[in-house]
Amino acid sequence: MLTLTHFLILSFLLFLIGVAGVLIRRNILIVLMSLELIFNAVNIVLAAFSYYTGNLNGTIFVVFNITVAAAEVAIGLAILVCVYRRSQTVYVDEMDEMRG
């Protein structure tokens, strides 16, 4: 029997994987994907609570989130292309122009 706890654990694991990906991976594409994992971990929590509490607000919010995330990824990828053109690299440790 699946309970709310299983969903929360899944969500927590996804979140941890996402955070680890963001902090550890060098490839900025992977970092962006990891960000999507974090996003989806949050979406799962929202959908799970909506289901188990019977309140549809959470489900509606998830639908909005997915839409907004799609737009955000489109913008993020566009920025990535610009960054790549400028620095000729996709590795975040080589993008240190902001160093003081």
């Binding site: 963001v22 902090l23 550890i24 970092v31 993008m95 003081g100």
Partner: protein, 700 residues
């Protein structure tokens, strides 16, 4: 024709401009032609103006022609305007007539000179200023001419400026003239100031003379004295006579034109023009006459012993100018102007004659090296002797009439001392002139053989002016012969100008016979004409004839004495104590005094020139030591201050700013290490921060 009077000064001015601009690019013939032609045309216009003027009634013979407005200042206006009246007409005739002859003569005299065009430019410029002086209808135009002739005199005396003595003489003439001019301009200031106190802000002759009686006689006396100081400088009267003999360094035609015939007579003209002022203050007139006759005698005594042919004539000019001042001083303005005119003829003639001699003698001016020139240059010597007879006052030459009128007027006015000194001076004049004639033209030629070979009569371009001037030196006195029918023509011609003045003067100084003058001078001069001619001259003629005889005798004695001392055939007859060297030996102190011109130059050197030089040297050392020292010390101290300021700026001000910047830089160097620029560092800190917040929330 009178309306075209402005052409008379304009023509010489244009001649001066053309010659001045083109002098080096023009052939000599063209320069001479322009110079002479402008003068000739000006003379013809002057003659036509005289004819027109004689056609007018005597009372209307005063026309003012305004050319343009020169100066405007509030209600005070000065026009460039010309006054055509008998006096100025006579003056322009003399200036343009004698000037024309001298221009023609100069073509011959200066033909070998490299500065030919420059010479004619200066000469024309001089004539322009002289005509402005005599034609001006207000004091400022007169002053313009007055200063201008002084300038041209300077330029022409120093014409051969590479000769130090010439440039020195030019400077001396200029400086001495400035002293007089200073008096003149002060006189104008006082005149203007005192007249404006009576609501008259004008310097026109007509306005001034019409209102001069409003002024306090003391003020008028001051004005008259100041103006006379100007005349003393310009006309080389004692004590400012020292420049004229030195002015003989200039070319001889210049001496003839400027320093004999025209410029030096400007002072006499000025006093005569201001007769209205001078007749108001007889005491000043008296002083003018005394200074004049004193100068006349002083200069004549110096002339006795000079050996330079031109210097004798220079002192003679000073002496004759003294006569003129004696005349205008005693109120006999006509006599003064008459002598001015005849003097222009015979002194111009004498100077041109001496120029001809100098030309023939290869620029030798010492009379001791001349002698016997009559056989070599007959025209020059004949005309020169005519001039000498005229200046010695021998009838019927022109100088006799004018000089005698001066002596007669001073005698009649009760100035017996002036008459006596004038008579003595006439004797001296005759003596030194014939000493000159005998030394130059008679006896053995004392020149060296080289000069002797070159002896020659001057070309006709020089002798013709001599002949014309000799003609006028003979007949020029006709216009002033007193006992022809109707009396002196010149007197009647000039009486409208001096009428208002002479009336006062005659009333003030006349004794009996002077009433005739007063009658002439009255309002209706033309009515009085016949009365003056008949009654006046009949009354005094017998005494006048006696005095004429006395002055002729004085002249004859002078000539006779000169011939005994210097004319070879007469010398043989003369007793030995009359030999010049014996007299010079016996009166050696007097001879030295005269030969050195009374040491006036030396006195001036000691009293004025050397103290001024010492003052200059002292001021120079003051300037170099103190003023420059202060300036230089200021500069040094400024530099020192600047050096300190510079160091303070670099080490203190800049140091503070820089050390602040260094501190900030150092400080920021530490803290900026935080900004690694790595995305994941920021993300890590972000995550750790959230964790910390979470932990805090859980703990809370």
């Amino acid at each position: 024709m009178i309306d075209y009077v402005w052409l008379i000064p304009l023509l010489p001015m244009m001649g001066a401009a053309v010659n001045g601009v083109l002098c080096s690019r023009m052939p000599k013939k063209a320069a001479g032609l322009i110079g002479c032609l402008s003068m000739g045309i000006a003379f013809l216009i002057s003659v036509s103006i005289l004819v027109k003027l004689l056609g007018l009634a005597p009372g209307e013979r005063s026309v003012e022609i305004t050319v343009f407005r020169w100066i405007t200042s509030g209600s005070f206006n000065i026009d460039i305007s010309f006054l055509v009246d008998p006096l100025s007409t006579l003056m322009i005739l003399v200036v343009t007539g004698v000037g024309f002859l001298i221009h023609v003569y100069s073509v011959g005299y200066m033909h070998h000179d490299s500065g030919f065009g420059r010479y004619f430019s200066y000469l024309n410029l001089f004539v322009f200023f002289m005509l402005m002086l005599v034609l001006g209808s207000n004091y400022l135009v007169m002053f313009l001419g007055w200063e201008g002739v002084g300038l041209c005199s300077y330029l022409l005396i120093g014409f051969w400026y590479h000769k130090k003595s010439a440039s020195d003489a030019g400077k001396k003439a200029f400086v001495v003239n400035r002293i007089g001019d200073f008096g003149f301009i002060l006189g104008l200031f006082v005149l203007f100031w005192s007249l404006s106190g009576h609501g008259i802000s004008s310097l026109g002759f007509k306005e001034v003379f019409a209102n001069i009686h409003h002024l306090n006689p003391n003020i008028v006396g001051l004005i008259a004295v100041l103006l006379f100081i100007g005349a003393v400088g310009k006309s080389a009267q004692f004590p400012l006579h020292v420049w004229l003999p030195d002015a003989m360094e200039g070319p001889t035609p210049v001496s003839a034109l400027i320093h004999a015939a025209t410029m030096v007579t400007a002072g006499v003209y000025m006093v005569a023009r201001n007769s209205a002022i001078y007749s108001m203050v007889p005491a000043v007139g008296e002083a003018v006459a005394v200074i004049g006759i004193f100068t006349a005698c002083l200069a004549a005594t110096i002339g006795l012993v000079q050996n330079d042919i031109k210097r004798v004539l220079a002192y003679s000019t000073v002496s004759q100018l003294g006569y003129m001042f004696a005349a205008v001083g005693v109120g006999a303005y006509t006599a003064g102007i008459f002598h001015l005119m005849t003097h222009a003829f015979f002194k111009g003639l004498l100077f041109l004659g001496s120029g001809s001699v100098i030309h023939a003698m290869s620029d030798e001016q010492d009379m001791r090296k001349m002698g016997g020139l009559h056989s070599h240059m007959k025209i020059t010597s004949t005309t020169f002797i005519i001039g000498a007879l005229a200046i010695a006052g021998m009838p019927p030459f022109s100088g006799f009439w004018s000089k005698d009128e001066i002596l007669w007027e001073s005698f009649r006015g009760g100035h017996y001392l002036i008459w006596a000194v004038g008579l003595f001076t006439a004797f001296l004049t005759a003596f030194y002139m014939f000493r000159q004639v005998f030394m130059t033209f008679t006896g053995e030629c004392r020149a060296d053989s080289h000069t002797k070979e070159h002896l020659h009569e001057s070309p006709s371009v020089m002798t013709v002016p001599l002949i014309i001037l000799a003609f006028f030196a003979i007949v020029g006195g006709v216009v002033g012969i007193p006992f022809l029918a109707g009396g002196s023509k010149l007197h009647h011609f000039l009486s409208p100008v001096f009428g208002h003045g002479a009336a006062t003067a005659a009333a003030a100084v006349s004794h009996g016979p002077g009433e005739a003058i007063a009658a002439v001078a009255g309002e209706g001069a033309h009515i009085a004409e016949s009365a003056a001619g008949a009654a006046g001259y009949a009354a005094h003629s017998s005494l006048e004839f006696i005095l004429m005889g006395v002055s002729v005798a004085a002249g004859l004695i002078g000539i006779f004495l000169a011939s005994l001392m210097y004319y070879a055939p007469m010398r043989a007859l003369a007793p030995s104590f009359l030999r010049p060297e014996v007299i010079a030996g016996r009166f050696s102190a007097l001879h030295t005094l005269l030969y050195n011109k009374y040491y006036v130059d030396e006195i001036y050197d000691a009293v004025v020139v050397n103290p001024v030089k010492r003052l200059c040297a002292w001021s120079l050392s003051f300037d170099l030591g103190i003023i420059d020292g202060i300036v230089n010390n200021t500069a040094w101290s400024t530099r020192l201050t600047a050096w300190f300021s510079h160091k303070f700026d670099i080490y203190m001000v800049d140091g503070l700013v820089n050390s602040l910047a260094t501190a900030v830089n150092f400080n920021s160097g530490i803290w900026r290490r935080l900004q690694t620029g790595y995305l994941q560092n920021y993300a890590l800190i972000f995550v750790l921060g959230i964790l910390a917040l979470v932990v805090r929330a859980l703990m809370g």
